[in-house]
């Protein structure tokens, strides 16, 4: 086992080139920068905006628990708001990635169902659009 591991290590040491490492470092730096950038904008959200095919479908407050059923072009998606968090509980799409996505509640988070083109994203209270229409406080 140990012998085998050493073999792999020496194999890697013999083959990895300087350019490989430089590229890896570059990628990691870009990745970290992007992570910090998106994390910087992240805060607890107030409402969820649902859009279908790039057009806004509706905006719902996170403070009210409810289930929204989206029907369009023969596709069905169900979105649930519970305890201030949003998740996709049902989708008739093929890959079910959106259904497996964990619940979201931060402004930098989103759930996308690509096959059905349904997108959920969280918005904060200082958003520019019609706060009065959705908030009662």
């Amino acid at each position: 086992m140990n012998q085998k591991k050493n073999n792999l290590l020496s194999f890697l040491r013999e083959n990895i080139r300087r350019a490989d490492v430089l590229l890896l470092v570059l990628f990691i730096v870009i990745g970290l920068a992007m992570t910090l950038l998106t994390a910087g904008f992240s805060s607890s959200g107030q409402k969820v905006v649902i859009s279908v095919g790039g057009k806004e479908y509706g905006t719902y407050r996170l403070s009210v628990d409810r289930t929204i059923t989206i029907r369009q072009k023969g596709h069905v998606n169900k979105v649930r708001i519970r305890d201030g968090r949003v998740s996709m509980v049902y989708s008739d799409c093929r890959n079910q990635i959106c259904v497996h996505h964990h619940a979201i509640d931060k402004t930098s988070q989103q759930i996308v169902c690509l096959p059905n083109q349904v997108m959920l994203r969280i918005e904060g209270k200082d958003s520019d659009d019609t706060i009065d229409a959705v908030s009662g406080n």
């Binding site: 590229l23 990635i97 690509l114 997108m119």
Partner: protein
């Protein structure tokens, strides 16, 4: 969207065939039979590689590693494509990849996923080819760049389809998963490539 995405690929396919044929008649023109034997060997090996790549896609379809972000996957098929790229060249690798994507699209992933695959595959193949030609990178680095490029291209297509730049929130996850999967596949491909008898690709060993 589908026809416009596909037409350049069909073009490429066509060009590949005629150019390759021309090159080989030029190189082996004086030997006739030997040239044809090499050509037959290449076609056969390419077919085997296409089947292997398709199998890899199938494996990945059977055992999806989903972490809730679209586009995160191992890229097992890239193993085969990487070896094809190094041993047979860009045109054969592109052709093998195209056959794999079309077959996988029709058989299991669906036409929708095919769009993403095509975008990812060809951008990553071009980048891998460029890095390979530069001669500064090992197969591992080339594979890593390919993984990242693949994910980036898929993200671009996704942003176009959903018509929102919000998709780029996924970028860091896809970048890191591309790095990890790319390195892993690169190491395996390098090990396999070292052990493959080079006579598989050429009728006679070069040395």
């Amino acid at each position: 969207m589908t026809p416009s995405m596909r037409s350049p690929e069909t073009d490429l396919h066509h060009r590949t065939d005629t150019k390759e044929a021309g090159r080989h008649t030029a190189r082996h023109g004086h030997q006739g039979a030997a040239g044809r034997r090499l050509r037959t060997r290449q076609i056969t090996v390419a077919a085997v590689f296409a089947v292997l790549a398709l199998l890899m896609s199938y494996l990945e379809f059977l055992i999806p590693i989903s972490i809730g972000v679209p586009g995160v996957k191992l890229g097992l098929a890239n193993l085969i494509i990487l070896i094809a790229l190094y041993e047979m060249g860009l045109r054969w690798a592109a052709l093998i990849n195209l056959v794999r994507i079309l077959l996988a699209g029709l058989l299991f992933t669906g036409v929708f996923a095919m769009l993403y695959s095509l975008a990812g595959a060809f951008i990553s193949l071009l980048l891998m080819w460029t890095l390979m030609k530069s001669g500064r990178f090992s197969m591992i680095g080339v594979s890593m760049a390919g993984g990242v490029a693949h994910n980036f291209a898929q993200l671009l297509v996704a942003a176009l389809i959903v018509e929102t730049a919000q998709m780029f929130l996924y970028f860091p996850v896809l970048l890191f998963s591309g790095i990890a999967a790319g390195i892993a596949m690169g190491i395996i491909a390098l090990i396999i490539d070292r052990r493959l008898a080079k006579t598989v690709f050429r009728s006679r060993p070069l040395s």
